[in-house]
Symmetry: C2
Subunit: 398 residues, 2 copies
Amino acid sequence: MECYFDHVATTPLRPEVLEAMMPYFKEEFGNPLSIYPLGVNAREAVEKARAEVAALVNAKPQEIIFTSSGAEANNFALKGIAMARQYEGKHVIVTRMEHHSILNTARFLEKLGFAVTYVAPDSHGYIEPASIKKAITDETILISVIHASPEVGTIEPIREIAEVARERKISFHTDAVATVGNIPVDVKEMGVDLLSMSAHMFYGPKGAGALYIREGQRIIPLIFGGIQESGRRAGTENVPAIAGMGRAAELARAELPERMEHVRRLRDRLIEGIMKIEAVHFTGHPERRLPGHASFCVEYIEGEGMLLMLASKGIYAASGSACTSKALKASPVLLSMGIPTHVAHGSIVFTLGAENTEEQVGYTLEEFPRIINRLRELSPFARGWEDVKEGGTCTPKK
Amino acid sequence: MECYFDHVATTPLRPEVLEAMMPYFKEEFGNPLSIYPLGVNAREAVEKARAEVAALVNAKPQEIIFTSSGAEANNFALKGIAMARQYEGKHVIVTRMEHHSILNTARFLEKLGFAVTYVAPDSHGYIEPASIKKAITDETILISVIHASPEVGTIEPIREIAEVARERKISFHTDAVATVGNIPVDVKEMGVDLLSMSAHMFYGPKGAGALYIREGQRIIPLIFGGIQESGRRAGTENVPAIAGMGRAAELARAELPERMEHVRRLRDRLIEGIMKIEAVHFTGHPERRLPGHASFCVEYIEGEGMLLMLASKGIYAASGSACTSKALKASPVLLSMGIPTHVAHGSIVFTLGAENTEEQVGYTLEEFPRIINRLRELSPFARGWEDVKEGGTCTPKK
């Protein structure tokens, strides 16, 4: 049996989405800036998609700027606001729950002379609005807080933090790559100034992301050039991918409650089953979490071993974030939550999607405990594990 | 009859290319960073494409970094080198022949405190290597010269300019978006340090570009985040588009001489026919030009009128650059070549491609003179035109 449980890495493309893209790979190949019909049709496809994406997050179409990815949207937001507002102050606040595209951009801003505060979460990966408030100085121009962590699934109190930011006239960005299309996202209700999203996180194509920029927010482009995207993001539009993102947004808006209910049911069963295994820790917030997200740390074994053994059984999961799976380092997000390094190394993340089934969850609940047992038998920490079983300490032996 | 003569705006996607992309829209939808088979297959597709793109320009695969567009590659090159080398000097040289993605990035660098010299071309749009040499100061860290202009087709003496740059240990970038896949491009033979390209300029998909970065060149990323592209360009890879770019590169390498010969023959016939019309000026270099590129300024009428009338006959061309067609300003490139504003307004550019035919050229040579006559009859400069016909001056009447 094959079970794809890595929907925070990428989602399969919906056939309806591919269908919406196909004309732009074939007869409608024009450049949206051209004034003849081929160009006009391409332009119309882009604007139709813009309206759909805007509708999904309750924005105005002119507030949506297409990018090539969520990472580009995050870079654009942070650097664009920092550059635009640097004369008002040079302090930026982010959190330790952020994706690498935020954290590494923040480090770049430090090199440009900005001061950056990295706010820590609690042990559930939750960011207290009060801890953001405490970090604010008179120099603060920008705060960026992830909407939900792809690693531990915790949903942050964006509305409350946005209020804190608004009181101080600080631009507020949220990285909503893991949430848009998966849970309700409403930029007005949340009160954010900027919001990043990515089509391939909600059954749309790779190569299409977007940044919501509230009307009136001044921003410096990341990609300079022609007059595309109202002069805010240059480069010939990736028309097929944008058309696909629009269609995926339309589907998400229509199907959201049903999708959430489906993955929540599967997730709860998966969590219940996996938590029966000895020395497995649930990570992230127990209630405030993505409906399809189940994440754990399995003591005494490494994430990589689990991933490979699971894959050999046709079960595809992640360890840490998608971008660190290959890096094989203990996830900084887990460490920031206070999880010890040796436990963080046993990170395993199952993220469920619309196409997953009860049978797949049942199969995984049969296979996963066996895999853990097998790996623990082989583990260099095996002796430590024996100690635990006999009532010893959780600290692995040297 | 329909005639697509705007191959510098975008090219139609080759069916073979779409075919190479399709698996990654369907069963092979994995994230290239994932370690299970779906991810590994996606990773292999990206690396296969990298090898093909590298082979097309005679680079090593590890010297190719995929981007979302030529504009992104240009921004990455200029900002990335400027940031990496700013402590050695803060002077950058570009030319007035550059694309907006270079010119507007150069202006941004000026705001960051860099000095930028904009070198002017001669009346053929040709950049004399001596004029680059003259612009170099002890502070110069970067020179960027376009390989060939999409507006006037002139091919610049990149090898000679690269030599000038190398002597002074200045990083040298060329925007080869209009040339890669259309004429031979060899990074070793040209001696460039960085080179931008775009898949949709050679029958590949939109959403895929690349920057060649010579081994050993240090560059600061434009998009920070995960470990994709050796940590130099973050964001989940647009796997289908990258696979398509690879296939398009493979096809270009195999078919280049044949493609060039085909468009050159059509272009020469088009130029010969159009130059028979009164008060039409050929723009760009008569010999050193893109084989499929025919560009003119038609006196006494506006480019927009011609484009619309041509489109009504099924003939799709451009005026100025693709990115200015909608801006409808006189092209800065034409002005920099010394063409008077009122003449530059009559810019018309036909760019031919592999699928164009002799019949299409014949049809255009019938229709275009009629369109010019009709527009000249309606033109606000009509009186001026009468003067010319009677031997008067070229300067239009107020």
